[in-house]
């Protein structure tokens, strides 16, 4: 029973002996006429790093808030480790949240911020401050306890917010776009750190993000959200290599979505297809076995170059390694790709 397995199916998971960390059954959350979350089924395996990926307004944050207890479902049922959670207030759930803008208490110093959860549970002062100091060491901020949140950088506040949640030893840790406000370098460091922290602690992490790169690199499994619904759940490889719908193909890694007529010529099946930009080879041969196209733009990205191609009206993107010799813009090129890399999607034509 492995969360990484591409054939992972939450339905078979439920029949097994293990209870889901979080389970949604036909959960909806409507705000007036807006269906923020619409009949979502979801099972999160204990100990996995689960990412909720989607554009803003897709319902991923509302799902997180439903788990935390800040929102109550309009319909459906939510269980956390087998216990029904509807009507249970946030302060009676052994689930903690790392907020998008950290939500550190400005009137408390770092140590008291981290010890807050233990303080309200009535843990003695010496004991809770010791635990808070340990949590600060865990996020590599030892000795920062006496500072005020306002004296910390964004990355440090992020770590304090993480320590404040982890000190309560939650069964599930919810992270709401926690890296969104950090610059690129810091974000990459924190991604690695969060991932290794999750491995060490073995806590179930539920991570909300709109950044596909972040979701793919960190998560054991990814759920792709759109319009309040889950489009696809699977391992990062699954989501990236075998998108089920045009939305997933386009949103996760900006795949080339190919219309059924085009796909039929290469695979014989009249279905929507997706082709990764890096799977396309571009040569300047005037004729041959491949797709004739015109190079209409190049976009230098450092390690790679992104090409915009016009294949007789169908706009395609290709990514080639830096240093590849390229024809001039406007010239005719020939596109080739392996048949295996053309993925057929489930979505009906």
């Amino acid at each position: 029973m492995c969360a990484n397995s591409p054939s992972f199916d939450p339905a078979t998971e439920l029949t097994g002996p293990m209870t889901s960390a979080v389970s949604f059954k036909q959960v909806s959350r409507h705000f007036g006429s807006v269906r923020a979350v619409d009949a979502v089924d979801l099972d999160i395996v204990p100990g996995e790093f689960f990412a909720m990926l989607g554009p803003s307004g897709s319902g991923k944050t509302t799902c997180l808030r439903l788990i935390a207890g800040f929102e109550q479902p309009t319909a459906g049922s939510i269980s956390i480790f087998g216990e029904r959670a509807e009507g249970v207030p946030p302060y009676r759930r052994n689930v903690n949240t790392v907020f998008q803008d950290y939500a550190l208490f400005p009137h408390l110093n770092v140590l008291d911020n981290v010890a807050y959860g233990l303080m309200v549970k009535g843990v003695g002062k010496a004991e809770r401050l010791k635990a808070a100091e340990e949590a600060l060491s865990l996020v590599r901020l030892p000795g920062y306890g006496t500072r005020r949140p306002s004296q910390l950088s964004g990355g440090q506040r992020q770590r304090v917010a993480l320590a404040r949640a982890l000190v309560n030893q939650p069964k599930v840790l919810l992270l709401d776009e926690p890296l969104g406000a950090l610059d690129l370098k810091l974000r990459e460091n924190m991604q690695e750190e969060l991932k290794s922290l999750q491995k060490v602690l073995g806590i179930t992490f539920v991570f909300v993000t709109h950044d596909q790169g972040e979701a793919l690199s960190m998560a054991d499994r990814v759920a792709v959200f759109n319009d309040g619904r889950i489009m696809q759940v699977g391992s990062p490889e699954d989501i990236y290599q075998r998108p089920k719908t045009r939305f997933v193909a386009d949103f996760v890694g900006s795949s080339n979505v190919l219309p059924p007529d085009f796909v039929q010529r290469y695979s014989g099946q009249h279905r929507w297809g997706s082709l990764r930009p890096e799977s396309i080879r571009v040569s300047s041969a005037a004729s041959g076995d491949g797709v004739a196209a015109r190079l209409v733009g190049t976009n230098y990205l450092g390690a790679t170059t992104r090409l915009a191609l016009d294949a007789n009206g169908l706009m395609l993107h290709a990514v080639v390694p830096a240093g590849t010799s390229l024809p001039a813009e406007g010239e005719a090129v020939l596109l080739t790709f392996n048949r295996e890399s053309l993925h057929l999607m489930d979505e009906p034509a």
Binding site: A68, G69, F70, P89, P90, Y91, R92, V95, N96, T97, F99, D101, A103, L104, F105, P106, H107, Y116, G117, M119, V120, K121, R164, A165, N168
Partner: protein, 321 residues
């Protein structure tokens, strides 16, 4: 628009001239921003420094003079005799009475104001928010005296409050309260309870507005974070909302406390014949003609407010500012 079209327009000057006196003046202020600041600040500083602070110090200086008891003339020599008079038992009574009243009014205002301010800051939106501001500010727009006389009618023995309590068969409650020593009296309008009620009514907006402003600055996700970390609503109030609203409560209490300390009209119209500091100042400088003692009395609220602010600062009330 094509490039040719852009280029056909006449090119503007790179450094166009300032153009006339006003332009030259603007340029001067731009080059010397401190000159502009000086010109802007000079009138108010003169007003505050000479007219306001100056007259206050003139008054305070009077408190170190004394009155000749036989002639009633002011003896303009430095003496602490007036302060000796101030600390007579009767005067200390007045001070204690006023400070107690100010403290109780402040406490009651804070308790009444907090839920209103909390509602306005967290829940009221759009039209309801406008209605809130209107409701809080409206009493401030009408005359202070009219409001106090209105309250005199409400609290009088023949007033609406007595009538209402009689209808509710609760008159015994009012009678029981009025039979109590100190807070009681013949009717609410001639008791300290009446004075207290009217003080709270009149100063309440000065408490609501700063508390609302403070609560408005508390991000909603701090309340969620507290709840997420296991704090019940009561714990969230004690550990997050109250400490963060405290600067607002202190700001409001400075108003309610100092305004009650200095007011002489409300206790004169509604209340007993026993004096408050404001009334003492009024009668000393008026009928009694004892300006030095009146001046010494005005020093009392200033000193008390000084200690009050010092204590509030020590308690950390301004830390979250």
């Amino acid at each position: 628009m094509t490039i040719a079209a852009v280029q056909s327009n006449p090119a503007p000057a790179i450094l166009p001239g300032s153009g006339g006196m006003r332009g030259a003046l603007s340029d001067l202020f731009w080059r010397r921003p401190k000159l502009l600041l000086l010109l802007m600040l000079l009138p108010p500083v003169l007003w505050l420094g000479i007219v306001y602070i100056g007259s206050l110090f003139a008054l305070l200086a009077q408190s170190f003079f004394s009155i000749d008891e036989f002639s009633g003339l002011i003896n303009r020599e430095f003496t602490l005799k007036t302060y000796g008079d101030l600390f007579q038992a009767a005067n200390l009574d007045i001070i204690l009475r006023t400070v107690t009243m100010a403290a109780l009014v402040t406490l009651a205002s804070a308790i009444v104001a907090f839920p209103i301010a909390y509602y306005a800051a967290r829940y009221a939106r759009g039209r309801w928010k406008a209605l809130f501001y209107l409701g809080v500010m409206l009493p401030l727009w009408s005359s202070y005296l009219v409001k106090i006389y209105a309250w005199k009618l409400i609290l009088a023995k023949e007033g609406i409050l007595t009538w209402l309590l009689a209808k509710l068969h609760l008159l015994w409650l009012l009678d029981a309260w009025l039979s109590l020593p100190i807070v009681g009296g013949n009717s609410l309008s001639v008791s300290f309870t009446g004075t207290f009620i009217v003080f709270v009514y009149v100063w309440l907006p000065f408490m609501i507005l700063p508390v609302q402003a403070a609560l408005e600055r508390v991000p909603g996700n701090l309340v969620e974070a507290s709840s997420d970390l296991g704090a019940s609503p009561g714990q969230t109030f004690r550990n997050v909302l109250f400490p963060l609203a405290l600067p607002g409560i202190v700001a409001g209490s400075i108003f309610t406390f100092s305004l009650t300390l200095g007011d002489y009209i409300i206790p004169q119209i509604i209340g007993t014949s026993r004096l408050f500091i404001g009334q003492a100042v009024y009668s000393q400088q008026g009928t009694a003609g004892n300006i030095p003692l009146a001046a010494a009395f005005t020093v009392v609220p200033i000193v008390i407010m000084g200690f009050y602010l010092w204590g509030a600062k020590r308690m950390g009330a301004f830390d979250a500012l």
